[in-house]
Amino acid sequence: MVAFAALVPLLLATLAIGLRGVAAMRTTSDFLVASRRVSPLLNSAAVSGEYLSAASFLGVAGLMLKDGAGALWYPVGFAAGYLAMLVLVAAPMRRSGALTVPDFAEARLGSPWLRRLGAVVVLVVAGLYLVPQLRTAGLVLSAVSPTPYWVGVVIAGAVVATALALGGMRAATYVQAFQFCLKLVLFIVPALWLLALAGPDVRAQAVEPGEYTRFERDTSVSFRTGAVLRVEEPVVITERDGTRWKAAVGEHRVGAGRTLVFEEGGRVPSVLGSAPPGGPDWHRPLLATVGDGYPLLSTLSVLTATVLGTMGLPHVIMRFHTSPDGRSARRTAAITVALLGVFYLFPGVYGALARVLVPHLYLSGATDTAVVALPAQVDQGWQGTVLTALLTAGAFAAFLATSMGLLLVVAGAVAHDLLPGGLRRLRAAVLGAAAVAVPPALFAAGIDAGILVTWGFTVAASTFCPLLVLGIGWRRLTPAGALAGVAAGLAASSGAIAVALFGPDVPGWAGVLVAQPAPWTVPLAFAVMVAVSLAGRPPAWARTAVLRLHLDDDHRGPSLR
């Protein structure tokens, strides 16, 4: 309940900002210096604030608890994406003046169809990114208070839509920068506090975790989603109403909403589809996405998706528009890498502690709540409560910042590119997008936030990455080539994801390439784009358009200023 209380000031602040509008620069008596530029540091704090989502705040530690130390490759990719952006697209994209990738496509290639296709890609990427945000918010709410998962998701969706509709549509740099500092403090301070509280034994175990085989005490596990447990040794289980029964060897289906208490000393049942945390594979510094085969391929797949996908994330690229020129856009990207690097030092701390203190979460599939579940295990007194409250508030701040940005992008794509109309349509689109995003989040309870977000990166890497890179660097790109490449990348990546979600299990390395398709979809999109472009003739203005993207801002025509 205290955790809930921590949310209230956060929600009030968000709503107040939404209602009041954002007094970004203000001077009441005298005049502002309007030509004062936004500094790259402030801008990169805003980029990071928008970028650090629930997947970063909670998901990485959760994945580490579940899949092992190799999951730390996710934050590596999340941060390194800005390097690719810095080198390849930041400055030319800013010089083009484009706000979104569909804008860029129209400015560079002059094709309204490409613009529409781009808007569709924006919808897919933002959707894949938005669903895990809502899902995580729902999980966190149900972990810190006795609300069912679906209520949490609906509340989260309603809060975001209301805040946006009440006037939060102003994409506010100062607010996002503040949110970044807030998240940084709310993530780092509890981490250090927890480390201090946990004591030397836990710290030693965290560095050298053993396999999780036996319950070290009576362990209560709440199943928010259904799960199938495979019991290898009979274990005594107490239901919430007090009935005790002994689970026989074999598979047991546990329905959603049940809470079971496993008796101390019992052998931990395994969960279909994942290995118990802390085994030998857990230490391996590589990822395993499917079963435990092909860790190197899995790691490279995830890295390809995250590094190349960042430049295509619709809510992030918009932020670079705030930079006054190409050079400061590049500087912004560079500082962002550093700021994110600081933040991403800490999911590892939470992951390692969670492995020692809350390994049972993997039974219920709620590993994403590990971060907020930790303090209660370390300290039952006020310190634990305060830490839970801080972390919950931080997670909610992460969720709010990112989902508001994403909803706005979705609404912009609908109201601007697909069905052009006035402001009223933009507002309607915000509410519509929130309503559409909630149902998938209800069904996505079983899929980790980190995985879903990486799929968003994969689609962005297979569509916008080739479009941006070739559009900026290659004069011969034609509208037809760009259309064909983006369409091929979109079809291939979303098709592979659909197979991974709904299709049959694919064994072996092919399975890795279905679950993380970036290594083949990105080259495919590049190849199609180049091949189709070579067959046609580039538009007459292509040379000028490309030159303009690369012309330094200081040398742009006669100017007296």
Partner: protein
């Protein structure tokens, strides 16, 4: 009464109409534009020719279908370009294309096509070229008007500023010099730059200069509040769209009252749009008057400024993006400019 067309004839004539329209659409950008190959193809289907070519004045034919293999087309083309009259007999004919009074190119037809059909086709192409030229010149005229509108604003301000400075020259020469420099800054901004667009940040700078000059005249009566979100500072807008609005707010919101007046200028992003509002707490005006001002129905100099900004915004961004004036008698005035944060072709 004309006989009713049979169904097959009906579809055939529709197809003919479609082909004719598509030929004229494709030739909008001239004979060496991107659509000329497609136009040649449609024209060939229309005539049922084996091959058909369009050549501009350079004499380079763009062929569709099978070129005339045996005959050398170059001398024929040359002859038509020199003589400006139709030459050749089936299966190879050439007709000159006149756009307006000038020769624009040659139509080459290879195949069994009657001379009359070739002549009509040449007329169709010529008409399409002519309408393309007209469209281009209409576009140029609109551009010229747009530039002229921009120049129309400055004199108001020049006059006002010089009056303000003149009033200070005797009483406070230092201040007058400062203001003169401000004024010099401003004229450099509004007159010396090339191109049609600037950034919101520069526009706000221009407002600053203007308000500095106004404060010299009005002193403490003029209170100003400016709030700009950093996201919109880099947005490209036409030159001098904000200054007339601020000028309007000062002149009608603050000057007449006698008491202090507040002018608020705000700029922020709203989704993909940039919204700039200029608000004063002056006497306001009846909404009908505001409507009349915007429609350009009033001839006095201040009204011209607002209507001018409105027309330029619509010209650049389309009919969605005009000025919005919210006003009522005794309730102040708020003028809102809404522009997309990115519009292809609009770059500072």
């Amino acid at each position: 009464m004309p006989p009713l067309l049979a169904r097959t004839d009906h579809t055939q004539s529709t197809a003919t109409l479609v082909a004719a329209r598509s030929v004229s659409e494709r030739l909008k950008h001239g004979l060496n534009g991107p659509g000329s190959r497609g136009a040649a193809r449609h024209l060939r289907h229309l005539l049922g020719a084996r091959g058909l070519a369009l050549a501009d004045l350079s004499g380079q034919p763009i062929w569709s279908g099978r070129p005339a293999e045996h005959a050398d087309t170059a001398p024929l083309l040359e002859a038509v370009l020199r003589g400006e009259a139709s030459r050749g007999t089936p299966p190879l004919q050439a007709a000159p294309l006149h756009a307006g009074d000038d020769l624009a190119g040659v139509l080459l037809v290879h195949g069994d096509v009657s001379a009359r059909a070739v002549r009509e086709a040449a007329l169709l192409v010529a008409r399409a070229l002519e309408s393309g030229r007209l469209e281009a010149s209409a576009e140029r005229a609109a551009q010229a008007e747009f530039r002229a509108l921009r120049a129309e604003i400055s004199p108001h301000f020049v006059y006002n500023a010089l009056t303000v400075i003149a009033s200070l020259v005797r009483s406070d020469p230092d201040r007058a010099q400062e203001l003169m420099l401000d004024f010099a800054d401003y004229t450099r901004y509004s007159l010396a730059r090339h191109g049609d667009y600037t950034t919101v940040s520069e526009e706000f700078h221009a407002i600053e200069t203007y308000l500095a000059l106004q404060r010299a005249l009005l002193g403490d009566r003029l209170r100003v509040q400016v709030r700009v979100a950093p996201e919109v500072l880099g947005v490209a807008v036409p030159y001098l769209v904000l200054q007339p609005l601020v000028e309007n707010a000062v002149r009608h919101g603050v000057e007449p009252g006698g008491g202090p007046g507040l002018v608020q200028v705000s700029g922020e992003a709203e989704g993909n749009d940039c919204v700039i509002g200029v608000e004063d707490d002056g006497p306001g005006m009846p909404p009908e008057l505001a409507r009349e001002v915007l429609s350009g129905g009033r001839e006095d100099s201040d009204a011209v400024g607002l209507a001018n900004v409105d027309r330029r915004l619509r010209h650049v961004y389309g009919p969605w993006y005009g000025l919005v004036v919210e006003t009522e008698e005794g309730a102040g005035t708020r003028v809102v400019v809404r522009v997309p944060r990115f519009q292809p072709g609009v770059l500072p």
